[in-house]
Symmetry: C2
């Protein structure tokens, strides 16, 4: 049993968390949240999304947010989700800000890809190729495979369905891939087996996990992902978030709960739990008022 | 990574679950619950406790409950907790009923043992020896090590503190030992390491885990216990229960949640999830009224 010394936590609350909250947070409050997270020791933050503001009004202020961000330390990587070529154009227009990375999502499930992105997986892969070519030399691109552990429309997801998307991402030049349990349908054994298989087949790739705690298996899935060798975990402050296109799929694993688990197991995250708990209380107060 | 084909679930709701409920359930309703659990496929049930009725009024009907139990199938093991020699005398007077096994608890923490059982660990171990001699040929005795993963009074529990109690139990002739995370303080790595160490040092012993979900690490601890080779898991229908002597230590891992996790990972329990969910709804309705 090999336990790592360190895991990188990527905070996705400002993006995946807030996009499922009805109360629209002001840009200033979002910036304050991001600053609090950085002060707590978070060095990877998915800050916003370049999707159509009509689709996700909460993140309609992507440009304003990035323009307004206080200078983070050089170790901090601010990323944003990009939905399509139009989104990538918007991201590229922001390279003068602290934006350092974009993430492109393709679903392993044809049905979910159509519901979430309104196109086929093949069309998404074409878009991904184009986005990677646009990014070359300008900004780093990560990939995320949605519904990698199960789809509420389609049910089980086979390994070859995940691998098809992974292969496309690697061919496009991507070297960090997130396996997302978008609807919280994965179980710990499945997480261990999928990560182990992918790591074995594709050495040199950085694997991250994006887990939801929908069925209270989030912490168990986290532990088995770590044992399978993932090096990045995505979590959301206060466990906010989910997927707006999947009913009931609320709840990323919570940052505080995740780092408490890791720290107790002797795994360093560089993040201060007390400060994260304070962030959690602050963001809940903001959203409840 | 070795996953077992089968895990035995021991239902502790009627004892550990109910002892923390303020509403006193009638003996008939307890018997109905036990019958429902058996119909769902549960074959190991900790049904009641021979402690002083003044200490745990909810379980003051131990004799009446055992006398009233419907004949369970021959595969069903009904057990009861025994607090001391007086409790063992009461248990031995019940061997004409379906009672097949008693469990004796000793804490790895001196402070918790005094709070919980009102005596020192040494005194408890003497009592345990006596109980095992009384039981010989009459009834099976299991052991349970309370606060094996942490004590709210004492904090961390060292391996040698657990091992001291384990050694005493083995010397008394006990061959099944439950490691109890009484206050829900354990983490998955600790569970794996303690079980692995004990299994390695004491082959031929059946190890079971009694976990609480106090800090939402219950499912992660379950998975790591299984990977370390435990063969019995104790859970409580609806996640009822806790420890009346530890504030906030409520919540055994829930039977439904646990078997859902196991079944999804391809581990058989012989229990019907739908029927357990029905039991959960029924017991909650009983307790809320």
């Amino acid at each position: 049993m090999r336990w790592p010394d360190k895991i990188l936590i990527r905070e996705v609350g400002p993006r995946d968390g807030l996009q499922n909250e009805k109360a629209i947070l002001s840009t200033d409050k979002k910036i304050a949240l991001i600053n609090d997270l950085i002060e707590a020791g978070v060095v990877a933050i998915e800050a916003t999304s370049f999707v159509h503001p009509g689709t996700v009004p909460q993140l309609g202020d992507a440009e304003k947010l990035l323009e307004g961000l206080t200078e983070p330390g050089p170790e901090v990587i601010i990323s944003a989700l990009v939905g399509n070529v139009r989104g990538m154009e918007r991201a590229l227009a922001m390279t003068h800000t602290h934006l350092r990375e974009v993430v492109v999502v393709v679903s392993a499930s044809e049905a979910h890809n159509r519901a979430n992105l309104n196109r086929s997986i093949d069309e998404s892969m074409e878009g991904l190729d184009k986005i990677c070519r646009m990014a070359a030399g300008e900004i780093n691109v990560r990939g995320a495979v949605a519904t990698a552990f199960g789809c509420p429309y389609q049910g089980k997801i086979r390994f070859d369905e995940v691998n098809r998307v992974v292969d496309g991402m690697l061919n496009a030049g991507i070297r960090e891939i997130t396996l997302a349990d978008t609807a919280g349908m994965g179980n710990p054994r499945q997480v261990y087996e999928l990560v182990t298989e992918l790591k074995g087949n594709h050495p040199g790739v950085t694997w991250s996990l994006h887990l939801h705690d929908t069925r209270r298996m989030g912490m168990a899935n986290t532990v088995m992902g770590i044992l399978a060798g993932i090096s990045v975990l995505e979590s959301s402050v206060g466990g906010l978030g989910g997927c707006p296109f999947i009913p009931g799929a609320t709840g990323n694993i919570a940052t505080g709960e995740t780092i408490k688990l890791l720290h107790e197991m002797g795994i360093d995250t560089g993040i201060d739990l007390e400060r994260i708990n304070r962030c959690t209380r602050n963001i809940r107060t903001c959203l409840d008022n």
